[in-house]
Amino acid sequence: MGLPLGAALAACGSSGPTRPGTPSGGGGGGGATYWYLSTQPQEGVRTRTVERFNKANPNGQIAGTTFQNDAFKTKIKTAIGAGQAPTLIWGWGGGTLRSYVQAGQVDDLTSWFDQNATLKDRLFPSSFGAATIDGKIYAMPCETMQPIVLYYDKRSFDKIGAQPPQTWGDIMDLVPKFNAQGIAPFALGGQSRWTNMMWLEFLFDRMGGPEVFQAVFDAEKDAWNNPIAIDALGKVQELVKADGFIKGFSSITADSNADQALLYTGKAAMMLHGGWTYGSMKQDGGDFVSGGNLGYMNFPPIDGGKGDPTNTVGNPGQYMSISSKATPEQKEIAKKFFATELMGDQAVKEWVATGAVPIVKGADKEFAASDDAEFLNFVYNIAVNAKTFAQSWDQALSPTAAEVLLDNIAKLFQLSISPKEFATNMNAVIGK
């Protein structure tokens, strides 16, 4: 319930008391600044990582400030636009990072990574895609990878005596069976819009491979008119029409975790959602996760589809850039932080403890000790084996195109526009 309020607060005032990156006017001051998200358990890991760094570096401290998710998105943009960005700019890479690069607000880290090749080798290569703009690296990938996973409730499948779907055809067959039992086939927090988007990401990939969306990303003219795209958009509408999603899904937000609650309370049988929901379902779902009722799998293939079924989409990592407006001292502190604690051994251990997979090669060595070893290994293997780990569309595209995309996705799921109209609306913002 915290997120909507945070969003509203961000809307009310975008210039509250912040701690902008202080220019090194004062002698001893001039430490680096770092803003990060306040959601637990991730906040704790970030805070402790900074504390460790500060303990080891008494002469070059980092001052952290925490923000709510949606408040952060607006706030960081305002601060950067006003030239008062924190030294360390945390984000999701992709289109937003590109807009920072175009405005000349973040430093090019390519040569720094060349000098620190061991650090670069330590991290998953696939995580660098969203940090790379026009062949140059502008951010250090960090924290955890979060592929989108098809979760299911084993109890519901036992109830109707069925197996988890192996193909899209299976999914369509399961829909009437679950509905007949009064169980919604899929939970969906449709008001959040990006939740619907995850469906399209997989349908596009499984049917046509990553090339279909890549064409949009590369700003090819009328890329959405690709017959495969139209077909995939139609498929999701078929699922909506068949009552594949829980009744009233457009009233449900992901921010309140109501979609996850539908799964662990047995009201819905399956859910397509990010890897991060495993931790919250474990925390909120009583014995749902610990009792072994939660199943998970990669999105199944679609008959006749060209996409590789090992592909996945989601967040290949989080990203940390250095503000170009920071002082040389601040930049030094930031680089030292990158090289030492940010993805250091202790940080990797702590990220694993949150039930997530850090973007560090060989992180699976840490899994054995964890209660969640099975899930962690599953996510790790998805990431290792994926031919492509595509970034979420709304993160990959520019903010302008992403907003139009989310708007049209909501209408597509409302059945108020046809796939053709969707394609026309989206073609209009290609490359914007």
């Binding site: 319930m1 909507p4 309020l5 969003a7 509203a8 607060l9 809307a11 009310c12 975008s14 607006t74 943009k77 305002t78 950067i80 636009g81 807009s99 920072y100 175009q102 405005a103 000349g104 607000q105 449709g190 008001q191 819009r193 829980i246 009744k247 009233g248 899904f249 457009s250 009233s251 449900i252 937000t253 309140s256 109501a258 609650a261 539908l262 009201k267 520019s398 903010p399 302008t400 992403a402 907003e403 139009v404 708007d407 909501a410 209408k411 409302q414 108020s416």
Partner: protein, 303 residues
């Protein structure tokens, strides 16, 4: 000598005529700083292209052409108008009736008026979050109390979502307007009702022939507040529906926010802001004309 004389008389003269003008300075400063300067800024921004991050480029009338050609604008204008008209149509009769009811000096009515006042004490965001939780089709009030009628796709169906917005807005603001009407009704001289009673008029007749006409200026005041206020509804709708489903509840203020902050197009967002200001000014002017023409005219005619 003469200089001394003038300087001695000057403060005196100022003390009479000048002191009042001087008192407006703080208000003027605030209005200039927080009203006029941002307004000019927005007007300038509406002729530029800016993503909120990089440099601001002059773009002529691009943003204006862009926004005016966008079918989203007439839609947002229409939604804004509907919110305005419907919330007025729901709130005004309810507020007049409640205000008249509460104007009588009974203890139980005083207690009720305190109870009615509570929604006004809550922030819009808190109200929106509470309603969102209550209306959740799976975990909300309907599901909890097992009342099938209440289990609807409240925020997911375009018409229902619109209705919910009107309802919640009314729920929040009826107390405020009731208070205004309560004051208005209490100003009406008792003698008019006594005269009507002597003439044999019933309660309903008295309400329509005395109370309503006497409330004319109160109605205009309250309507101006409602109509102009409804232009700026943002927080409540943003939290409740985020303008959705689709764009069913995307009012102008929300459209401005979405374009500016979510789509990083400050130019077109500023165009919407300017349009919002213009619409607000025109409305306020029209409403002033409606009521203000014969402001010197006594309401207490015949009393």
């Amino acid at each position: 000598m003469s200089a001394l004389a003038t300087s001695a008389t000057a403060p005196k003269r100022k003390g009479r005529g000048g002191s009042l003008a001087w008192m407006t300075v703080p208000a003027l400063l605030f209005f200039t700083g927080f009203g006029l300067i941002p307004l000019v800024g927005v007007l300038v921004l509406s002729f530029t292209s800016w993503d909120g991050l990089g440099d601001i480029h002059f773009a002529g009338v691009d943003s204006w052409a862009n926004v005016l050609a966008d079918p989203g604008l007439p839609h947002a204008l229409w939604v804004t108008f509907l919110v305005m008209a419907l919330s007025w149509a729901v709130q005004t009769p309810a507020s007049i009736l409640l205000g008249t009811f509460l104007a009588n000096h009974h203890r139980y009515r005083a207690v009720l008026s305190v109870v009615y006042f509570i929604p006004l004490l809550l922030s819009s965001a808190a109200i929106a979050i509470a309603y969102k939780a209550l209306l959740d089709p799976n975990f909300g009030l309907g599901a909890g109390l097992q009342i099938p009628l209440l289990v609807q796709d409240w925020l997911g169906d375009p018409y229902l979502a619109f209705g919910v917005v009107i309802f919640v807005v009314s729920w929040q603001f009826i107390p405020f307007h009731s208070l205004i009407y309560q004051g208005g009704v209490r100003q009406i001289p008792r003698s008019m009702y006594e005269a009507a009673e002597l003439d044999g008029a019933g309660r309903v007749r008295m309400f329509f022939s005395i109370t309503l006409p006497q409330l004319k200026y109160t109605i205009i005041t309250s309507s101006t507040l409602m109509v102009v206020g409804s232009l700026t509804f943002f927080d409540l709708i943003f939290v409740l529906t985020a303008g959705g489903p689709g764009d069913a509840t995307r009012v102008l203020a929300l459209d401005m926010y979405v374009r500016g902050w979510m789509a990083s197009q400050m130019g077109p967002a500023s165009v919407i802001a300017v349009i919002l200001v213009l619409v607000g000014l025109v409305l306020a002017l029209v409403l002033r004309r409606l009521g203000g023409r014969d402001a010197s005219h006594s309401q207490l005619e015949g009393a």
